[in-house]
């Protein structure tokens, strides 16, 4: 088997340059590549275009890269509660492209699957449809949407093996598997890195063919945005 292991986050992102397009896995701050975000902060690359469903919070996740003004453009479905984000957006420092969540997920899948365009009903008749082709199938209208690809896809998994196979956990899976397919270089950070052969081939969510670099991350905070509980 092909060995994809790198020493850590710094080595994994060593060739990310200014003005790169990155995909970053996660929904809210659930399932985000915490270690790689820290390494990008440290590296200080600027002018990034980040494709990510959300933009983190003020002091965690992609919010950290916003604070240091490393991000030029966000491509997201929902940019949530983030005061610094709002300030940069209103001042024109930050560009934002909003895409319906299902269209975003499917465009990323299409990027990885070699499908340049597909029809979807989401956004028909809304401002999302502006400038897009519309076509009717079986009496319903659909928009033509194109694939999304990135220079680097940075994903977070639960378990991984040395040949790059990945298994996610719970709803931390979210956008990670599609993004893993759509990067020219795909970097995976995992909570537990195992020798090839330790993961059941039948349970693998992301086959290793999509992953160029893998490492075991550390010090995961795994922050919770909305801690909703009932009494014990």
């Amino acid at each position: 088997m092909i060995n994809k292991v790198v020493s850590g986050a710094d080595q994994a992102v060593h060739d990310v340059t200014n003005n790169s397009t990155l995909m970053l896995g996660g929904f809210g701050v659930c399932g985000i590549p915490e270690n790689c975000i820290q390494a990008l902060l440290k590296k200080g690359v600027k002018g990034l275009t980040c494709i990510s469903n959300n933009a983190g919070v003020d002091d965690f996740g992609i919010g950290l890269l916003l604070k240091t003004r490393q991000v030029r453009k966000m491509i997201s479905s929902y940019v949530g509660e983030n005061a610094e984000f709002e300030r940069q957006l209103l001042s024109g420092e930050l560009e934002v492209e909003l895409i319906p969540q299902g269209t975003l997920a499917e465009r990323i899948r299409a990027g990885g699957a070699g499908i340049p365009a597909f029809y979807t009903p989401a956004g028909v008749g809304t401002e999302v449809a502006e400038g897009k082709e519309v076509r009717e199938y079986e009496g319903k209208l659909y928009l033509l949407e194109q694939w999304l690809k990135a220079d680097f896809a940075i994903v977070k998994a639960w378990k991984g093996d040395t040949s790059g196979n990945l298994i996610y956990r719970g709803t931390a899976r979210n956008f990670n598997p599609m993004m893993a397919t759509a990067g020219k270089i795909t970097i995976a950070e995992v909570e537990e890195l195992l020798p090839a052969g330790e993961l059941d081939p039948n349970h693998i969510h992301t086959p290793g063919i999509y992953v160029q670099r893998i490492f075991q991350g550390s010090n995961y905070e795994k922050r919770i945005e909305q801690r909703t509980i009932i009494k014990d």
Partner: protein, 218 residues
């Protein structure tokens, strides 16, 4: 008049045995609390889960398990996890039976506006555009009028819309209304203590009243 809980309770009566349901943030989330336990239904969370359970106990909190509102949750017995593309394939493919969500405005043709207010910070549509463009049955939970008393059930939406001709039913603080395929809000029930006159005055779009309109009984 219905309060938020009243709206949620009334919507819960629309739920049938065997349904797969997507609940939006806000009042729709409350609906789950009022679905009779005798009904077997499955709640879908568009971030990748079929089978949302109650909020966790402190000891059960799992940062890898959240709903689309980013709240910590649990899974019921028989759940399934999947990625976001699969989740929206499920939604877009019409496999989710009913979507319940909030709205700022609904038009008499069933257009819905619930994602953007000009002049205010735009946070994004999230999954709402996919949901309203895809679901077979869309029920909206909303206030009939704004705080200033302006109707939100309109001839045409004034706000940027989320989807066209998609809303099937509205449960507001004043009434239950069906949105007819040919257009128009057909009054089905009045909220407790609300007169037909009040509903007429609060509805700018075409209101259709046929026969006796019963008052809801809880």
């Amino acid at each position: 008049m219905l309060d938020k809980i009243g709206i949620a309770k009334r919507i819960a009566r629309e739920v049938r045995d065997g349904m797969y349901i997507n609940l939006g943030i806000g009042i729709p989330t409350l609906v789950a609390n009022y679905i009779p336990p005798s009904l077997n239904v499955v709640l879908q969370s568009e971030n990748g889960l079929l089978g949302i359970g109650p909020f966790p106990k402190e000891s059960e909190v799992d940062s890898d398990l959240i709903n689309a509102g980013k709240q910590t949750i649990t899974m019921v017995c028989g759940s399934a996890l999947f990625n976001s593309a699969e989740s929206f394939a499920m939604i877009r493919g019409g496999h989710v039976d009913v979507t319940i969500l909030g709205a700022m405005e609904v038009s008499q043709d069933g257009d819905i506006a619930n994602w953007k207010v000009p002049g205010k910070m735009v946070k994004g549509m999230g999954g709402a555009m996919d949901l309203v463009a895809s679901a077979k049955n869309i029920i909206v939970a909303m206030q009939h009028c704004s705080k200033e008393g302006a109707s939100k059930l309109l001839k045409e939406c004034s706000l940027p819309i989320t989807g066209i001709r998609c809303v099937k039913k509205i449960v507001s603080d004043l009434a239950v209304l069906d949105v007819l395929p040919q257009g128009g809000f057909k009054l089905i029930e009045r909220a407790p203590g609300v007169s037909i006159e009040e509903i007429k005055n609060a509805t700018q779009g075409e209101l259709i009243i046929e026969g006796e309109i019963p008052e809801m009984i809880f």
